[in-house]
């Protein structure tokens, strides 16, 4: 709409300019005709009039051409500005979507990070608590095993351990290491063993050993030893029974 109004105003201006030019030429001729020093004959007046018409036509032509050119220029400028606007709009949209995407990505990443880290942290705390509870169970078990050492089956267990140890280290000159509470019991067991296996020379070590129970069978040259202590047996089964203890503590069994 604005565009049409502008064009209409332009056309009016041109028409006004043309009328003004013609009236100016007539005025000029009239002044020359009346001036006494400049005598212009009548026939020349006719010639002047006809050349004015030609001039008028030329001016008309120039004006219409320039008008077309002008309108075309306006049109192309208008289209260009529309294109510019369109392309800048798409650029803006691209930039906008880029910014939004980046922000979304970033927020997703932060969200994932926070959720992941908190889940791992919670799980780790649970693991530490569980481990401390499992260790407590083992400490209590050791205390109980120390007391159990005085019970019936303990003597036969020590005898079996002695047999295993002797068989494992394959030597006849042997030293037995045990805790001080078990010394008398071990001496009795060794005597029983030697009665059955006469070729063995077995002695009880004088050293102080802090086992819960059980014995360590060592060759007298010290090159080889068999660990049959309850401590080492407990350590050996610890990884296996940890799962059962954890299940009980978790209330799964």
């Amino acid at each position: 709409m604005d565009h049409l109004l502008v064009r209409h105003a332009e056309e009016n201006n041109k028409l006004y300019e043309k009328t003004e030019l013609i009236s100016y030429l007539f005025g000029l001729y009239f002044i020359l005709y009346l001036t006494p020093k400049v005598k212009i004959p009548f026939y020349r007046t006719f010639v002047v009039m006809s050349s004015i018409v030609t001039l008028e036509q030329t001016i008309d032509k120039v004006l219409s051409e320039s008008q077309i050119e002008f309108v075309n220029k306006i049109d192309s400028a208008y289209n260009e500005s529309l294109n510019n606007l369109e392309s800048s709009r798409s650029n803006i949209l691209q930039e906008y979507s880029k910014i939004i995407n980046n922000a979304q990505k970033q927020s997703e990443s932060i969200k994932r990070q926070i959720i992941g880290a908190s889940k791992i942290s919670a799980r780790n705390k649970q693991l530490l608590l569980l481990e401390s509870a499992v260790n407590n169970v083992f400490v209590k078990s050791k205390e109980k095993l120390y007391v159990l050492g005085k019970e019936k089956g303990y003597e036969s267990m020590l005898y079996r351990t002695l047999e295993e140890g002797v068989s494992a280290i394959q030597t006849r000159d042997i030293i037995i290491e045990c805790n001080k509470n078990d010394k008398n019991l071990i001496t009795k067991i060794i005597n029983d063993f030697i009665k059955k296996n006469i070729n063995y020379k077995i002695a009880v070590s004088d050293g102080f050993f802090d086992f819960i129970g059980g014995i360590r069978v060592r060759s007298s040259d010290g090159l080889m030893s068999y660990d049959g202590t309850m401590d080492s047996k407990l350590e050996r089964v610890k990884p296996i029974i940890r799962k059962n203890i954890a299940q009980i503590l978790r209330g799964e069994e």
Binding site: G116, A117, D227, I240
Partner: protein, 481 residues
């Protein structure tokens, strides 16, 4: 295994490099675990390499520094090295021998698995055919990884192979299913900064809780490196075949592993093979690489991406050479692309995924995937030839079509290959970028693509220009929605 449970020996005959020779052995078995106590009371682990004539050769994982012939005790445990496994291993960090390295206790084990693994029954193997999306265009588009495949990355020193591996680990997913996905990462003799980068990158992406890390750093004992890939793969097998997860096992750097093997071989005075590596390097590597795959009747899979840095970028070096015989293709990182600042600097012309053809196409990825990949290979190969020609005759001496190929090569490197570290591209986007590049060539040059696909996806010049506007409009409308 022998009955030598808890027998301790104190007669150490010799200590040589990473090996310790124990004398007076009555009962010991090959591969048996040995607990070594130093004169200071420090405990180390080892394993029996050879037994005979009353002697056992023990390989000490933590090295023999500080060990003495007098006062050192070796206790033969009576079992092979085992790794305690349970679902709790996910999100944990272990050292190269599988001991916790994150300040937490040992996982409460469901099972104890031999780190040497169970060999897969070839009859029970299932052929890998399912696509894994890594979000990296060059891999998804041209070197597609499939579940159960072993696809190594051949790299060089200083190249960003670990960054690429971390990106794959962060982004890898099984598209279109809700099946569980896990990452097992074994760092073998890597720098502390690299290990930290990997850990941090998994933490930041939230992928750590579905990952297990085994870290043997550059300053850790070299001999430990023999065990690191084995414990990592033991856990990977457990997650895959016991828990039914799809596991991506990344082993970096297998060159360090092979060097540890060479060190032991030299200490054992074995006859050296090429470049001093033992003659059994091929068999040893195969023992590791062949632990990837799928099994009939099991849901999970183990996909391996071993990384190895080629000494002096030499692809004929024994390690990449032998690896190439065992694995199903390779991704080669190119020094030239790296120098041009292109990441990931995968030299596609030297790379190949042998199982790609079975993991892509209709119903798996997209019907035009294979053809597009072939055409891209072809176009990039031609562009490289033209580049070489242009260096001699100059750009002015090239024909019109040669110039188009030259531009296509540049577009391929900058729009397809080049990617940001955190850019996770969908397969659709990857293929769309591929078509954008191929559309820069005349239709008549696309000889490897069926007409119907050209008709469907080829973008004519005016279409290409309007693509950006179209994309922006689509984005704005989706945002408005």
């Amino acid at each position: 295994m022998s009955d030598s449970i808890n027998i301790e020996y104190t007669k150490i005959a010799e200590i040589k490099g990473p090996l310790m020779i124990v004398d007076g052995i009555t009962q010991a078995s090959f591969d048996e675990l040995v607990e070594i106590e130093t004169p200071d009371g420090e405990k180390r682990l080892g394993r029996v390499l050879e037994v005979g004539h009353g002697k056992a050769i023990v390989q000490v994982f933590e090295g023999t520094t500080g060990l003495a012939i007098v006062g050192t005790k070796a206790k033969f445990i009576g079992k092979t090295m085992q790794m305690p496994v349970s679902p709790e291993v996910l999100g944990r960090v272990f050292d190269g021998l599988g001991r916790p390295n994150d300040g937490l206790p040992e996982p409460i084990a469901d099972k104890f698995l031999d780190v040497n693994g169970e060999p897969m029954n070839p009859e029970q193997r299932e052929y890998p055919t399912s696509f894994i999306q890594t979000g990296v265009s060059v891999i998804d588009g041209m070197l597609t990884l499939v579940r159960g495949q072993k696809l190594p990355i051949f790299s060089g020193s200083g190249m960003p192979h670990n960054i690429l591996a971390a990106q794959i680990a962060r982004q890898a997913s099984v598209v279109g299913t809700k099946e569980d996905f896990a990452v097992v990462f074994a760092a073998i003799g890597v720098q502390y900064s690299e290990a930290q980068y990997f850990k941090r990158s998994l933490e930041e992406s939230g992928a750590l809780r579905r990952s297990v890390l085994f870290l043997n750093l550059a300053d850790d004992p070299a001999i430990e490196r023999i065990i690191t890939p084995r414990v990592a793969l033991t856990v990977a097998e457990y997650l895959a075949f016991d828990l039914g997860m799809h596991v991506l096992a990344i082993l970096t750097d297998m060159t360090n592993y092979s060097e540890a093997l060479r060190e032991i071989s030299a200490a054992r005075e074995e006859v050296p093979g090429r470049k001093g590596y033992p003659g059994y390097l091929y068999t040893d590597l195969a023992n590791i690489y062949e632990r990837a795959g799928r099994l009939k009747g099991k849901n999970g899979s183990v996909t391996q991406v071993p990384i190895l840095s080629m000494p002096a970028d030499d692809i004929t070096h024994p390690i990449p050479d032998l690896t190439g015989y065992i694995t199903e293709g390779q991704m080669v990182l190119g020094r030239d692309l790296f120098r041009k600042g292109i990441y990931p600097s995968v030299n596609v012309l030297m790379s190949l995924s042998r199982l790609m053809k079975d993991g892509i196409g209709e119903g798996k990825t997209r019907s035009d995937h294979s053809e597009v990949a072939n055409q891209l290979y072809d176009a990039y190969s031609r562009s490289q030839e033209v580049r070489a020609l242009a260096e001699i005759v100059g750009r002015a001496g090239l024909t019109g079509i040669d110039l188009k190929y030259l531009d296509t090569g540049d577009m391929f490197e900058n729009n397809f290959l080049k990617q940001n570290l955190d850019e996770n591209r969908s397969l659709e986007e990857t293929l769309s970028r591929a078509w954008e590049i191929l559309s820069a060539l005349p239709e008549s040059e696309l000889t490897k693509i069926k007409d119907k696909h050209i008709k469907q996806y080829y973008r004519h010049q005016n279409q290409q220009q309007s693509t950006n506007v179209g994309v922006a409009a689509a984005v704005s409308s989706s945002n408005a929605t």
